[in-house]
Symmetry: D2
Subunit: 394 residues, 4 copies
């Protein structure tokens, strides 16, 4: 590691009762390459303080607001001050925190969807570019070794021409109006003020879009969405089914749901080419199923030596030998580790490697926000809509 020390980071959000903040902290801790040194864990200073204490942080670096954190940390010397900020708040807070962090020169790891409006997303693209910031978006599902293998196999042409992509992300946890009972995770995700224009598409549909694009490299050209709110009283959609045309002629289905009772977190992608197809499921993430015409089905499994030749990057993102499974946290940690090493290289004045640079970017974030709005628009109109989009910088 070029920097000769661990990275330091501060967290915005992730107070008591939050789900994803704890995940970010475990992901950041796993590899022993970075320390949490500061936090503004809640807009309620008392809650922030309590969380900092539970995490054994230096109380002087537990702040009552992100503004305070950014200001005060900026004054600390490098090596002591935080090197980057993790943003793990509800969606509507991502933008102001990220903007202020970038302008103060802090690198950023931000949860998805990046912003609630496309204007904000594009503004971030420009800011990141202007300030030379490393910006990573936690589309964590692209962190799995077998997803990286899938991308490699597509790139190497093993599937032939991509014809069809079926990507689905069914969950069932919002099958009832839990938000009416005050369930924290349900409340903000179904509240337009905090979540933005979309619940299901914004929270999970965007992961599906990102995963399909990461593996195949293909962007969506047109889509036709059927957007539904099944649970009475809910303000945002909880189910979305889409017909999708990709650039280059591939077609497919993309759907996400929060009311599919019995489904847990069943993100699944199938990519069919003219020569072969592949299948990957988040709930059995150490396997990649590849099926060629006229050969037995093949199951690639993480950590095996035969991956060395096919996909060094899959191996690079795997920590354990075969049969010793890695799962959600490890994939999430790959985003942190890769982004962290990129940040460390920049701080050390060195060039990050191609392996380090393998994490979702601010442009991925803008594409995701554009996708969310396009899907909701198509659903409102009940027609196919143009979905082509190129964000600033990419």
């Amino acid at each position: 590691m070029p920097l000769g020390r661990k990275l330091n980071y501060g967290m915005v959000g992730g107070g008591p009762g939050a789900f994803i903040g704890a995940v970010h902290r475990m992901a950041a801790a796993l590899d022993g390459e970075m320390n949490l040194v500061a936090g503004a864990f809640s807009s309620d200073p008392e809650k922030s303080r309590a969380q900092g204490e539970a995490l054994h942080l230096d109380p002087s670096r537990v702040y009552g607001s992100y503004q305070e954190m950014i200001e005060k940390e900026s004054r600390l010397p490098e090596g002591e001050r935080m090197d980057f900020i993790s943003i793990v708040t509800p969606n509507h807070v991502h933008f102001p925190v990220a903007k202020m962090a970038i302008e103060a020169g802090f690198h950023v790891v931000c949860d998805k969807p990046m912003t609630t409006t496309l204007e904000d997303a594009e503004e971030l693209c420009r800011l990141v570019d202007r300030h030379g910031i490393v910006f990573a978006l936690t589309h964590n599902y692209t962190g799995y070794p077998m997803v990286k293998l899938a991308r490699e196999m597509v790139r190497q042409g093993k599937l032939g021409t991509i014809r069809k992509i079926v990507v689905e992300y069914p969950q069932g946890w919002l099958y009832k109006p839990f938000e009416a009972e005050g369930a924290k995770q349900a409340v903000w995700r179904t509240d337009p003020k905090q979540a933005g224009v979309s619940s299901a598409v914004g929270d999970i549909g965007t992961h599906a879009e990102n995963l399909a694009r990461y593996i195949t490299g293909l962007r969506i050209e047109r889509l036709c969405a059927d957007i539904t709110t099944f649970v009475p009283g809910r303000q945002l959609e909880d189910d979305a089914n889409m017909l999708v045309h990709y650039e280059g002629g591939a077609r497919g289905i993309l759907y996400c749901s929060q009311i599919s009772v019995g489904e847990e977190n069943n993100l699944t992608i199938r990519v069919y080419g003219s020569e072969a197809s592949l299948k990957w499921r988040q709930e059995a993430p150490n396997y990649l199923h590849v099926r060629y015409v006229d050969q037995p089905e093949q199951i690639y499994k993480h950590g095996n030596d035969y991956l060395d030749a096919v996909s060094p990057i899959a191996q690079h993102n795997s920590r354990l030998p075969f049969g010793h499974h890695e799962a959600f946290i490890e994939a999430f940690a790959n985003v942190y580790r890769n982004a962290g090493r990129t940040i460390a290289a920049r701080l050390a004045g060195e060039e990050p490697s191609a392996f380090d640079l393998d994490f979702p970017t601010v442009q991925d974030g803008a594409i995701g926000v554009h996708f969310i709005h396009t899907a909701i628009e198509s659903g409102r109109k009940g027609t196919w809509v143009d979905a082509r989009y190129t964000p600033p910088g990419g």
Copy 2:
């Protein structure tokens, strides 16, 4: 069995090299309740004769054409003449054979899709009614015990209100223009003159529609289809993805494909209700997965005593104890057995039981033909279309 003898049947189609004809014969033979006594196996009299000989039929009852078969068999006394006709030809021949058979008073088992035009389908509905004929359509996938269990559980309200149906039928066997090489199964299925307006939807999409309707009882109200021909030179579509609205507010996805490399015959249905969901896969047909909110997933398995209380009809359509699996032929045989017992009851002047009457009807056939045409129309227009339809008699 009220008739006191085995049923006799004749077959139209199913000559040398045919696939589905042999399946029909095995399905009919399995339970020892009916004999193949006559056949017009090919429009080529020599091929028909050869097939009859291979099947050890009385040469005097192997005919050179279906017309000849129907005429000559009509003159034989009951008990000797065929009681019903199995039609296993390419699609475009179903109608003329069925029409002549019905008018001659023969009961009919017919492969799907029932006809190539809606006019013909409706004509058959009227003929069946007018002549008091038992007409069974071999939507064989509804013959599986676990599919029948699924229907029972929906009917008993165990899923609550149905919200979403995802039914998919991917195959990969037509990923190349095998029809250009003269492969028999590929040739007729991709030839508009023999297959009708559709290949994928007609051959397998219609099974998906039938399965969803059989299990949930819901008809499609609107749909939006994306219809694609991926293989160059092919005259009919080989892939179809649809957004679907069902009566009563349920929504979903229905898709079928013949170019999904690596997929074999992967008909799968997931039905999500407000209280529970179920999943069934044709390639593991002895299991039904049921997932309630806040309970462990449950896997029902064919042949267990606990099914007695939940679904006597599932048990009735199962021949073996648990762990001794039944598969494609056995499910197909259930259509034959149930239709056959209905025919036998009619011949004996008795009323068939509700269990006997559990097979797809001529109205199912008309609904299927309407669905095929609606899907193709939607695809052509690129819009949502109205899909409501009630066939003559139902």
Copy 3:
């Protein structure tokens, strides 16, 4: 088919309420190559008559005893009389029926275990040889196409040297003393007078031994068995675990159980060689898993063209295209079809093909009976015992 007609057969056993008799009849009927023409379905003439009527048999050929059947059928001309006898009675009746049938010149299909004593088994070996009889034992699990593929792959050396065989056959259906409640299937299987010296080993352990030997070609040299009767009051063992040494240095585990609650019919075999291993499960029988060192796992699936090169015999024993699954009855039917074609060839004075001759023989039966007795003896002694054995004729 060289004979120019269907084969005729008669059945001994398989009266009302029997399980395996109905399976034999479906297996024999499936391919349309043989007719059931006679039966002595029960030692109770009235039950035999009722069963014959239910099967629409000619009443004059429904007999009150097997002796009567063999005597009277012997007097009928060839082509009218039965060509072979199916023996589907409880174990202790196999020998007398088979002996009389053979001596009368009838070919035999017999359920397993072949006899209750080794003396009887060896006597049948000698009789079969002396009378030139085709004798098939229904070790039906060797009838699966993927089992035949497994054998081919071992023979072709794809696994290298066989090192370890783990074959298990757990069932749970006898977890309680159902025999005390009069349950027909339980009563005879746990009664030493009808079942012989063993219940679990005799009923299912012998299938496991046969399957391992069929696939690998290896005979057992030594074994150490732990034999247990878990259910109070039961006279025979309901669980058996064995350490096994095979000829050539392979070792392994063989176990069977009737009290493994929750297990249905979970016969599973794993064969490990120095270069690769394979796995097959009866409850997912259309797949063969092959795992080489340093390659992705491969799943062979029935009915695919790529099997043509690897195992024509697997293809020969498959009736349907890929994805259209075959199961218990179809595998059972392969024993009937292959044995039937061998019988037909003999009747026609022709040589059966190697494909026709692929069914378990009277020697397999004797080896199985010897295995059963050896296992029980080892369990009684609590030591390793010598298990080497060569039956008369093989």
Copy 4:
């Protein structure tokens, strides 16, 4: 957390190229409750120093030997000095390090098998007791939430009387003499000087024994082992199959293998009771399959609310919501977290909770060592041997 600070720990072993040391570090880091502050990573001081640098440790606390580490750390004040020592060396070094650590008052987390001789194991039992030390053995497979659920269900009597336990641990990675090529992991595990009397049983068979005992609470009374070295030139066994009798009448099979080509890390346990059975696989660890007589199979899945009532301890050992899978590192981390919290409570003068105390102990270690020696002895003798054993203190 009662201590008000993070725990500190030092590591012995885990230098460059080691496998399990890195796992321990990730497991310790995951929850942010402890810091690695010191290390003697290798018996080669230069390698130790390099590893310390890679881990960004204070160079003054990277030691050239465990003796030096224990001596120097002992002189540091509490809160600064390490609170416990992680021992991750090859087996033969566990004992001297643990002994010295305990005598110096350091708590211990030690890899398994605990020692190479039973005398050493018993000595550790006595030392731990005498010095009031918290000693945790990393039988990590008992750290999985679903394993804890399994134990709860057995304890609650849901399985009825335990009848049969089938526990298997096949691996394939030593199918060739990789030790002859100098592969580090292979070399020490097959070297009697470093591994002790056993390779396969010591490395993985002992996990199987521990898992069975953890879930069922049953100790082994007798066993009969078949011990084999398949790979030529190897000094220790690479395969072991055992018949096992447990206290209370349960019987079963326990096997482990390092030459089962194609197997990765397939630890699997099935426990059959008189009323129900359960199945758990390490390679799909978030599911527990439970099968009652006459009910559908039930699959319990980690993180669901319905576990609250059945097994609070399973929930307590789960970090993520359902569908967000936890795997090897998370289970390993549970041993660290629970042992760490016990250590922290002791340091704070408080009583650890029952949840904290849920980790494998020094007595588990002694039982494991006794099991290893018993299995090897049985294999050598070729007979059943008595396996009853009670370690000092338990």
